[in-house]
């Protein structure tokens, strides 16, 4: 859009050919300069494009900008817009928006704002800008009604996609849209509704495209068949940073439908990550089956790389060695040497946490169509910005000429924050000169992931005569999450693995937390609630051990540590403050719900844990029994405070899902490495939990809150593993200090 565009031209741009009218959400950039600085107007006015369309029949179409990976943003983000627009939610139709990178008058921008999915930030971000999108649209409609009715705008109200005349008569938004589109948006941010005026936010809303999902019509990235794309499958080098020695494709080429077979190089070791994960041999064929069949007929010799000896056992030994050093100090409060001397008693424990794969139900894939001056990507994504940059880097195309069609994604869990498969698809498409759809098998997915880091925690508690914790030391040796990633390389090694201010930091006067880097060739990345699933198992198991050793009640001990409700400093995502009272509250409610105080005499045990994740507070409690080596979970309770809830059904789904994911992972899942190769390759050796292993129900309690919403995708996972381990101890007096739980429990029983 030209900066010289006149007001009238701007308005006509907003009228679509179909006669549907787009409310003027794009700021009239050529209009008079606003009276307040642009950055005070909110994202909606300064950089967002059209989210709202009103059809002639008064149906309102709201754009969903997020990456829908199962966390419900296709429903919850449009709710924010519809609320402030006062739309009739039952008649709103939601449409997925594409990726919105463009060159605006002030340079590159995303016309839809933040579109990625990570860190449970979609709702907190949308809370800031998407409500303003709806509010501006409503402001324009009221203004149009005021003009039409010759009334001051204060006398006009709105409800369910209608403006209401003071005499009570109603006019559908659709009848005002044309006039509204001719009005210049307000120069200042529009006041938002008060919570007591909410009609949509806080009310349960079902998944907007549920009907499409249950009838098999919902389109995922893997379902795209654009432009007669050929299908590619790759055999990747199984050796960490290994390379290709030779291959024989004679049999593979005989498979009907095979178009080409060729090698692709692995990334340059140590390079910043914007390319593929491993060297490989590519088969390109007419369809998926031909590609997979031919791939199985390749004969390949690989050369092990610099990590040929890498193994989980070596890493465990390296952790022991590393922990003898000084490490990177994350936090040092009080006087540890003096505390150790003064302590009546000192407790120690070591906890081991394995590598984890994401195992999204829909494996990685990408469809790429390259043309001389433009490109199209269709794929299930979590970080379209990074996908766009990746394609631009590999092709030299300008990012504004790269179209990314966003689809529903079959899970994310952090896997799709990496775009290695997008890079592979581009490399293959460049070579083939035709559109290519790259398919990963499950085997590819488990053996070539960016795994949740491996690490060992060593904890120490110093107790005084009254068994009060006067000193606390948390040492952790782990593989950093930074792996061939330029932006992470600049950050401290503990980033996304261990948080300086996580519980009980700030609550024990003498406190020492240090991080020790383990070098490894294993690729690492973010896994749902990254540092929190990794560290809460250690801290929340250890608190339980302290309670048992000192014959204190484990809930009372935590409450004593949390102390008076107050806000303490918390550096890192979810901060800048951590509210001890909110964590105490979810813990108390969770204890009540599981009937914590009641002694179990029937062989059952109850365990509990609580943790602060990304601005949300969660506690879990389980009631379990162990029969032989079989674990049965009789009850599962999850209490959470994630601030104001936008969609109660969605938050409940995230807590149920987080709990089940937590159980499945804690009980059975680990990725191990031996001889420089990942050892797991299917759901047989990476056994995601099935219904029979799961509690019949997860009882979710959401604490009502007026605080800013925190999102909900990740808070339901971190407390599951420690609460389960604590429950197993209560039932059996066997302490599990290594994940996954079941293999360890069987060793110890």
């Amino acid at each position: 859009m030209s900066a010289k565009l006149s007001r009238r031209q701007f308005v006509s741009v907003m009228l679509t050919a179909s006669g549907a009218l787009v409310v003027g959400l794009r700021p009239a950039l050529a209009g008079p300069p606003p009276k307040v600085p642009m950055d005070m107007l909110g994202e909606a006015l300064t950089s967002l494009g059209a989210f709202v369309r009103i059809e002639r029949n008064n149906r309102i179409v709201v754009g969903a900008r997020g990456c829908e990976i199962g966390q419900g943003v296709m429903t919850s983000l449009p709710m924010l817009i519809a609320e402030e627009l006062d739309a009739d939610w039952n008649r709103v139709r939601v449409e997925q928006l594409p990726y919105g990178y463009e060159i605006g008058v002030d340079g590159p921008r995303n016309r839809y704002g933040e579109q990625g999915a990570g860190g449970s930030t979609s709702i907190p971000n949308g809370w800031k800008d998407l409500r303003q999108v709806g509010a501006v649209a409503r402001w324009l409609l009221i203004e149009a009604a005021a003009q039409q009715w010759q009334l001051p705008r204060e006398r006009i109200t709105t409800e369910a996609s209608h403006v209401i005349h003071p005499d009570g008569s109603r006019m559908p938004y659709a009848e005002l849209v044309e006039r509204a589109a001719a009005i210049l948006p307000p120069a200042e941010a529009v006041p938002l509704k008060k919570p007591e005026e909410f009609r949509i936010i806080g009310k349960p809303a079902k998944t907007v495209d549920a009907r499409a999902i249950v009838t098999g019509k919902a389109q995922y990235g893997i379902d795209a068949y654009v432009g007669g794309a050929l299908v590619a499958a790759i055999v990747r080098c199984p050796h960490l940073d290994g390379s290709l020695a030779s291959f024989d494709d004679a049999q593979a080429r005989k498979v009907d439908g095979v178009v080409d077979v060729f090698a692709i190089e692995g990334p340059v070791p140590g390079s910043a990550f914007n390319t593929n994960l491993a060297a490989g041999v590519v088969v390109v064929a007419a369809n998926t089956w031909a590609a997979l069949k031919a791939r199985s007929k390749l004969k390949i010799e690989w050369k092990p790389g610099p990590w040929a000896e890498e193994s989980t056992a070596r890493l465990a030994a390296a952790a022991e060695e590393a922990l003898k050093g000084e490490g990177l100090s994350l936090r040092a409060d009080g006087d540890m040497a003096k505390t150790r001397k003064a302590a009546r008693r000192t407790l120690n424990a070591k906890y081991t946490v394995p590598f984890l794969a994401h195992a999204t139900m829909e494996p990685p894939h990408a469809l790429i169509k390259l043309e001389p001056d433009r490109a199209l990507l269709v794929a299930s994504l979590q970080d379209p910005d990074d996908a766009s940059t990746t394609i631009a880097d590999l092709t030299g195309l300008a990012r504004e000429n790269i179209e990314i069609r966003m689809t529903r994604a079959g899970g994310g869990f952090g896997r799709r924050l990496k775009n290695d498969y997008v890079a592979e698809a581009v490399m293959v498409a460049k070579k083939v000169g035709k559109p290519v759809k790259l398919m990963w098998s499950r085997d590819d997915d488990l053996r070539h992931d960016f795994y949740r880091p491996f690490g060992v925690h060593r904890l120490e508690a110093n107790l005084d005569r009254k068994n009060q914790v006067i000193g606390f030391t948390h040492l952790c040796a782990a593989t950093p999450v930074a792996y061939r990633n330029a932006s992470l390389r600049e950050r401290p090694a503990n980033t996304s693995v261990l948080d300086a201010d996580a519980f009980p930091a700030g609550l024990v006067a003498n406190f020492d937390k240090r991080f020790f880097t383990l070098e490894s060739g294993m690729p690492r990345g973010w896994w749902r609630a990254p540092s929190h699933t990794f560290q809460a198992f250690a801290t929340e198991s250890f608190i339980d051990e302290i309670a048992i050793e000192t014959k204190q009640d484990a809930v009372a001990l935590r409450l004593a540590l949390l102390g008076e409700p107050r806000e303490i400093d918390y550096r890192g995502h979810g901060g800048p403050k951590f509210d001890t009272g909110r964590l105490a509250e979810v813990l108390r409610r969770c204890a009540d719900a599981i009937d914590w105080k009641r002694r179990r005499t029937d062989g059952r045990g109850v365990g509990i844990a609580c943790h602060f994740t990304f601005g949300g507070y969660t506690a879990h409690a389980f009631e379990v029994s162990v029969d032989g080596s079989d674990l049965k979970i009789h009850r599962a309770v999850c209490v959470t405070d994630v601030g104001r809830v936008v969609n109660p059904l969605g938050v409940e789904a995230m807590m149920i899902g987080g709990t089940i994911d937590g159980i499945s992972t804690a009980l059975n899942l680990a990725i191990t490495v031996k001889d420089g190769q990942v050892q797991q390759s299917s759901f047989a050796d990476y056994p995601i939990g099935r219904m029979a292993q799961m509690p019949n129900d997860v009882e979710v309690i959401v604490v009502p809150s007026e605080r800013e919403p925190a999102g909900a995708g990740e808070m339901g996972v971190p407390t599951v593993a420690p609460a389960l381990a604590n429950a197993i101890y209560a039932a059996t007096t066997v302490r599990v200090r290594e994940l996954p739980i079941l293999p360890e429990l069987r060793r110890k029983l």
């Binding site: 999902i213 829909e362 789904a653």
Partner: protein, 176 residues
Amino acid sequence: MRDPQNKAGKEPAPAAPAAATGPIELTINGEKFRHTGDPEMPLLWYLRDVLRLTGTKYGCGVGQCGACTVHLDGKATRACLIPMAALANQSITTIEGIAGPDDLHAVQQAWIEHDVPQCGYCQAGQIMAAVDLLKRKAQPSDADIASLTNLCRCGTYPRIRKAVKRAAELIAGAKS
């Protein structure tokens, strides 16, 4: 009869090595099809790549996850494990064919009522498995429901349990 691999409508080329066993005729969602491609091709890829019936999903390709569950002569079957060669004159129903074009099966309706899907990727398979279960057990117990082995990575199992029970009610209600 449709053979999407033979777009020109000609008879399949007799020399095509993969079609050595001759065309395979089968019924999918009530419509007749003729497959002239590789007889080893699993039904899953025929449905997806050839017919573009993409409701049936790929999750593992080796029978472990159930994302590809369809009905073969009315019984839940994993489409990734059955080669087309085994399907001559058989009848298949996929998620797209479980109800009329504008209708919902009671199981689909119950799934919506209980807002089961998260990412939704496994759900077509879950629904096909649940429809089969309810045919065998009109009033399934908790243990019957737990016999469903389809994986859900998002952890929707508790809502699946409720939705299966609700579907049983809906079916019983429709019959009485």
